[in-house]
Symmetry: C2
Subunit: 410 residues, 2 copies
Amino acid sequence: MALYVQKYGGTSVATVERINAVADRVCRFHRDGHELVVVVSAMGGETDRLEALGDDISSRPDPREMDVLLAAGEQVSIALMSLALQARSVQARSYLAHQVRILTDSSHRRSRIQDIDLQHLRRDLSAGVVPVVAGAQGVDESGNVTTLGRGGSDTTAVALAAALSAHECQIYTDVQGVFTSDPRMVPDARLLPRLTFEEMLELASLGSRVLHPRSVEFAGKYGVPLRVLSSFEEGSGTLIAGEDDSMEKPVVSGIAFVRDEAKITVQGVADVPGVAHKILGPVSDRNIEVDMIVQNVAEDGRTDFTFTVARSDYDNAIEVLKPVIKDLGAGLITGDNRIAKVSMVGVGMRSHAGVATQMFDALARESINILMISTSEIKISVVIDEKYLELAVRAIHSAFGLSKEQVSEE
Amino acid sequence: MALYVQKYGGTSVATVERINAVADRVCRFHRDGHELVVVVSAMGGETDRLEALGDDISSRPDPREMDVLLAAGEQVSIALMSLALQARSVQARSYLAHQVRILTDSSHRRSRIQDIDLQHLRRDLSAGVVPVVAGAQGVDESGNVTTLGRGGSDTTAVALAAALSAHECQIYTDVQGVFTSDPRMVPDARLLPRLTFEEMLELASLGSRVLHPRSVEFAGKYGVPLRVLSSFEEGSGTLIAGEDDSMEKPVVSGIAFVRDEAKITVQGVADVPGVAHKILGPVSDRNIEVDMIVQNVAEDGRTDFTFTVARSDYDNAIEVLKPVIKDLGAGLITGDNRIAKVSMVGVGMRSHAGVATQMFDALARESINILMISTSEIKISVVIDEKYLELAVRAIHSAFGLSKEQVSEE
């Protein structure tokens, strides 16, 4: 018998039928003798519907009131899920954030969990009751409703699992787990049975939308084993946990990619301290997130400074920079808003030389030009022309033997 | 400057456009220098939608979870209304029941308000902020969400008005106020500018669906002036307040009616003590509400016992009675499920003789047979064949000079 926190996302509870299917699953776990805490998101589409109502009424909606509005979504889900469990003779009890209570700071729409009171949950668990907790919401010191922002329900689940020292935090989604790459682009992508927190974090931030980086970070910090699995199909999904020293580490775990990127180059910048800040400061001030940054080797005291942003921020970023380059006495601003980023992630890279070379070679064989390169300890990212994205991902996937067939032959 | 509690029902906040229209109205009141507390219901249709979801999942839904589910409806409305007020530069702040806090007992789906903490509301009012409170919901001692049941939002508004000693509690609906009879049936029905709590209570219980009896009773108990008015049209509506001795009381204020009634007669019942209880006890045990009760004068120690129920309970009530009459040694059960009840209400009846006679005369002139009669101090009700309902209401309405034209000629 073990304690599990199970989180079911919006698509898993989008309809009465799906809620019933989830309840069947929870019921089986419960009958197997496990202790369970269930966290649910708002029914699929509901958060968007509520947000649209708010935006319809106000062009600059007050974050406090938006949190009250959005929190109604999970409130509906916890009630329905509790009813569905009770209809299966499983004792269940819904909890809103203020009932648990999940204390957060007062930053509406992006609050952070500060403390969780476990009194009610522990009482329920020891009485065989399944607590059903509203995901993504909290309450601040003054009793205001707060929401945790993107990936909030995952964060709620991980926080509860950490606080309760759960055996595992299971994130049920509409995919079977984490794959070596997006199966829609790479048909022979393989389900990864196990990843480290670090690897998942790199994959999550790089566009593999299975888990939000925040919840992975949280799980890693507290050492909560996270499992991503499908609420529609059977299977053990992907376990994300600490590094297991007994295992041979694969050099490359997965290939992530981000479309819709753009790069901007400021040419002829003086190679003196403080230039990077002068260029990126005004960009950040406009809440434009900068991803990769590359500065070329200086020639004649002048250099080129290149960075990438989301494609939707491209025009805005160039507009912001126009007055800046005059001040800097820099030359032209050039850019390209048809680029994409491909990244290889794997803890094994640490101990294996030549991984980058192998990746560049795979791209060269397909005549794909690399526009930018950025590396970290367990990741190599390259920026390429967007039109080569699919080709690049498949080439790298194949070069590193990540496909199903290749693996089964080893 | 006065303090008003304004309650807007489901139809008044059914769409973003209507919420904006209500916000315009609240805004005008606020700019006129009044202090305001706004109570809102769930958006029209939302409560039914949520209830249907719950009923879809469970045939006997747990009342605690249904309360969590339904309370989400008002949560959405208070957030949207607050946003709409803020968009008009009116400071506003939404309150859920646990935030106010509105303490109730733990009877889910029909809880009763026990106490209201005015601390936050008073602070807001003195700072010029409009508190927007979720109608129909409360929180019990243990922090569980409760709902007040039918007419709940009106009750919340009246309770807040009583606690805050408001100048008036204004109930905004989709009708202009309380009429001498239903304008859909009596086209020349007249808007009543003023009614006593007692009159409104009789009219409310008798099928005039403008206000729920519970909120009228509550207002009467605490002497809170209630005003019913339209959120779509201008007008001062109907004021429901204590009796005003300076005014001539109209003999008859209004004609109410209830369709869909049925009557059941147990014939040949022994005229001994305890018989009424033996007949009605089993009926009440099945949660069938009994309305009028008439027992004929006994002949030879035997009598007939007649009562009315809602038409939907007719078959059920007869079924319940079958074994009972055997035990009682009574005769036949007969019944009629095509009857209707018409009632005349007015505080002036107290001091005017002959009102009943005048009503019976009006019916006789139309050859309408009276099946049952029941009277109270300010009300006379008759049961008639349902097919004569419209004719009867119009005849009485006209006989007592309630029509628009007749009044203006006086």
